[in-house]
């Protein structure tokens, strides 16, 4: 009995792989770049979305999230260089195994792809805190959505950053 199952699983896997290879061969699946391939597990669907609603929907399954004072987003009011805008994210949470921030999503409303970063925390972090630098194409809103380990969503108030020189020029 065991053997039969194994053989079936093996056949199924082989057939599926074959189908994908054929599809790629005849151009059904478009390779992004000849030399580039996404890192396994990287959420391409959420990152590839071109508008905020689609990016939010793909990342968190919702397009609107209630603002909570627990989600703090710090960014400059005016950024001379849109190529490196410092942002600090801090979420008020006990970060215990029963009650912690599991994920945080950072969006820039009108960037060519609005989802900028996604963070998956564990209680061992002690604090849901991130600081990084992002690119902004123009004066725009930055916003953060946090998800607790129980699946509750809460958002920061959108923070407007005035950009003097866009970070995606050319």
């Amino acid at each position: 009995m065991n053997k039969t199952i194994h053989r079936r699983q093996f056949l199924g896997t082989t057939l599926a792989t074959g189908a994908v290879a054929t599809a790629a061969g005849i151009g059904l699946i478009r390779p992004q770049l000849a030399f580039a391939d996404n890192v396994p597990g990287w959420p391409a669907k959420a990152f590839d979305a071109k508008v905020l609603k689609e990016a939010m929907s793909n990342a968190i399954g919702k397009t609107q999230v209630a603002v909570s004072p627990k989600v703090k987003l710090t960014a400059p009011t005016i950024a001379e260089n849109g190529g490196a805008v410092p942002v600090t994210i801090e979420i008020d949470s006990p970060m215990t195994t029963d009650d912690y921030i599991a994920a945080v999503y950072l969006f820039v409303d009108h960037n060519p792809t609005p989802l900028a970063s996604q963070f998956t925390f564990t209680p061992a972090c002690g604090q849901a805190y991130i600081q990084e630098r992002i690119k902004m194409a123009k004066t725009d809103n930055v916003r953060v959505v946090a998800k607790t380990n129980k699946g509750e969503l809460m958002a920061s108030a959108p923070r407007e950053v005035k950009v003097t020189i866009g970070g995606c020029g050319g």
Partner: protein, 110 residues
Amino acid sequence: MSNNIGNPMIRMASSAKKGEIIEVRSLIMNPMTTGLMKDKAGKLIPAHFIQTVNVTFNNKPLLDIDWSTAVSANPYLAFKLRAESSGTLKMVWKDNTGGIWSADSKLTVA
């Protein structure tokens, strides 16, 4: 810029009191190009960016990060860690062209 790539760095305290929350700061060289910009000859510069950063402490997952091309060149990242036991913090960065870099830093908890 492309010949200046990798070179990951971690800065954090080497010792801490048990239960103390410490800040970890990191930096790596990467062009983080979007694939939307053109060079001077009008040719599209391909996307080249770090997509994931995985942080572990004593081989246990601590923090996982997924980045888009909206993260600035030579990405800086700071986060927190609750010092519970002595051990090694390890970070692994992976980009969309197969580049993988890692760095680690030791922590002694008194």
